[in-house]
């Protein structure tokens, strides 16, 4: 039933997407197409060759939108036709009449230059810039909507493919691939998806804006598009680098930096001719992406769920690894009430309750924040989420003195500016013998997401 519903949604979304695409294309390319002598949209066949050469020379220098060039070409053709006929009626032969008519119009360079001055006024440039900005905004909304619909379609298709049709073969392929894992709770994944949608929206917005700018300012799209694309890309790059605050990963940073690239590409790639999408190849690419996504999804989340329980796992070797932080003061069995607000960017709050009398024999009680990695000794898939300290580091990344209230010890760590995602927090103290001990066997593990701008990420420490 659920699959049927999803298929119905997909079936409805396809015509909506297509209509949207057609609408964006037709509204962005306002005006009649440039007359092509091949299609005979404008009849200049009756004009002498030298007149057509002249008109082509003028047209090549106009640097205006196609529809305006078409208007001017037709108007000058009409004029030459009348002028040549009138001169011929005065007794000159056709060739000399054509030469005289062209001489009266002056050089193609001068005529084109004066035409540009007449049309490409500063007022129209301002109007074009304003229109371009408005149409960029409209195109962005259209693009975001289209990309979201497309994303939903791909997700639905991939889900259907994975859950019903291809689960067995994809699972088999995924099982053969090297083990890789992603954390489905990783908030940077949301940033990647959002940034991908924004890439599509930026490309459509740039294209629509550049074409509107060209139309209103009476300039050739190929002339204004580089300015539009580079200016927009520069603004977006600045926003991405220094302003937009989001959960980050290397992938999300890469995709976020692709947004200005997509904007520039949207403005620059064949902006005056349109893009004819090969729909067959697009559909094929969609299927391939869905299959690859399906394999990735299964590979990342596992093709089977085991029944491993915490009790069944021998963790003594893991506890032994923690001794590199400090040896365990065996008598302690504290109650941990730690929490990590990963949704807010990785603020870890730790709270530990210990017997006050016991604590009186310790001093310099503190929490130590260590980088963590999945424990290699964990059962396949590490479904229990067992982590050990990262041996690449010899010391904790941060230390916070325990804030003590009765028997409760608390500390907070701001993890937003670290690229690492997994952390272990140990409670340690100096014992009666002057040595430092950890006061718990198992530390609390935390998951965090980097939160900041792209620049923050690039300049952050691991």
């Amino acid at each position: 039933m659920g699959s049927l519903l999803l298929a119905m949604v997909a079936g409805l979304a396809i015509p909506v997407l297509y209509r949207l695409y057609r609408h964006v294309r037709t509204t962005a390319q306002a005006g009649p197409p440039f007359p092509d002598s091949e299609t005979n949209d404008v009849s200049d066949k009756d004009l002498p060759d030298k007149a057509r050469v002249y008109l082509t020379a003028v047209d090549a220098r106009l640097e205006m939108p196609d529809w305006l060039r078409a208007d001017i070409y037709t108007e000058l053709s009409d004029h030459l036709r009348d002028s040549i006929a009138a001169i011929e009626s005065e007794g000159l032969d056709a060739d000399r009449a054509a030469g005289e008519a062209l001489a009266r119009l002056g050089s193609p360079e001068d005529l084109a230059s004066q035409m540009r001055r007449a049309h490409q006024t500063p007022r129209r440039l301002l109007a074009g810039a304003a229109g371009g900005i408005i149409q960029t905004g409209v195109g962005f909304i259209y693009g975001l909507f289209a990309a979201s619909l497309l994303g939903v379609l791909v997700a639905i298709f991939a889900t259907l493919l994975v859950t019903s049709l291809m689960k067995a073969p994809i699972g088999f392929v995924a099982g053969l691939l090297p083990s890789f894992s992603t954390d489905s709770t990783d908030l940077a994944t949301n940033s990647v998806v959002t940034d991908l949608l924004l890439c599509v929206a930026a490309a459509i917005a740039a294209r629509r804006g550049a074409q509107a700018f060209a139309d209103s300012s009476r300039r050739a799209p190929s002339r204004v598009a580089p300015f539009w694309g580079i200016a927009g890309a520069a603004i977006l790059a600045l926003l991405a680098l220094f302003v937009v605050d989001a959960q980050q990963s290397w992938l999300s940073v890469f995709v976020e930096l692709m947004i200005p690239v997509a904007f520039a590409a949207g403005a620059l790639v064949r902006v005056d001719r349109g893009i004819a999408l090969p729909w067959g190849r697009v559909a094929l690419a969609g299927v391939v992406i869905s299959i690859v996504g399906g394999v990735g999804f299964i590979g990342a989340t596992g093709v089977s769920s085991s029944n491993v329980t915490a009790e069944a796992v021998e963790i003594t070797p893991l506890l032994a690894q923690f001794d590199r932080v400090a040896p365990w003061w065996q008598e302690t069995r504290p109650t941990f009430e730690g929490s990590a607000s990963a949704c807010c960017g990785g603020e870890a709050h730790e709270s530990v309750t210990l017997d006050g009398a016991f604590l009186s024999s310790f001093h310099d009680i503190r929490f130590e924040l260590w980088r963590a990695v999945p424990w290699p000794g964990a059962p396949a898939g590490n479904e229990l989420g067992l982590y050990t300290v990262d041996e690449s580091y010899a010391a904790p990344i941060r230390i916070a003195p325990a804030q003590r209230a009765d028997g409760t010890l608390t500390a907070s760590f701001d993890l937003r500016r670290y690229r690492s995602n997994h952390w272990l927090i140990f409670l340690t103290a100096t014992g009666p013998d002057g040595r430092r001990y950890r006061l718990s066997g198992m530390p609390d593990d935390f998951h965090s997401s980097f939160s900041g701008t792209v620049w923050d990420w690039l300049t952050a420490s691991d």
Partner: protein, 115 residues
């Protein structure tokens, strides 16, 4: 390219005035406008055809003229121009300026004889 003739130089600034004047009587297309000016001047002058179309397009951009493609009685469709209310006001302004200018030029030219 040779030096522009005195007549061409004199005509240069008057093209908008001449165009607006002949269009006051009704809509015309480009070639007709040039012909009408030639006729009304008794063949004395006509605007450079190379300057005519830029002038027409500039006046249209300014809102003084409105242009429409229309099928003509004979031959292909043509671009007809007609004067707008703003064009009418502009023409009045041009006429006033020209009157003052021509009187001033006339007085200046007449001064040696008077002396």
């Amino acid at each position: 390219m040779g030096k522009p003739s005195v007549r061409t130089q004199l005509l240069k600034g008057t093209t908008p005035l001449l165009v607006l004047t002949v269009l006051r009587d009704g809509e015309l297309y480009g070639y007709e406008i040039a012909q009408r000016i030639r006729e009304r001047s008794g063949g004395a002058f006509a605007p450079s055809e190379g300057a005519l179309y830029p002038a027409l397009h500039a006046l249209e951009a300014e809102g003084a003229l409105q242009a429409d493609w229309r099928e003509s009685d004979r031959g292909p469709r043509r671009r007809y121009y007609c004067i707008t209310p703003h064009g009418g006001a502009l023409l009045a302004e041009h006429e006033r300026a020209w009157a003052e200018f021509s009187i001033g030029v006339g007085r200046t030219l007449g001064e040696p004889g008077r002396g």
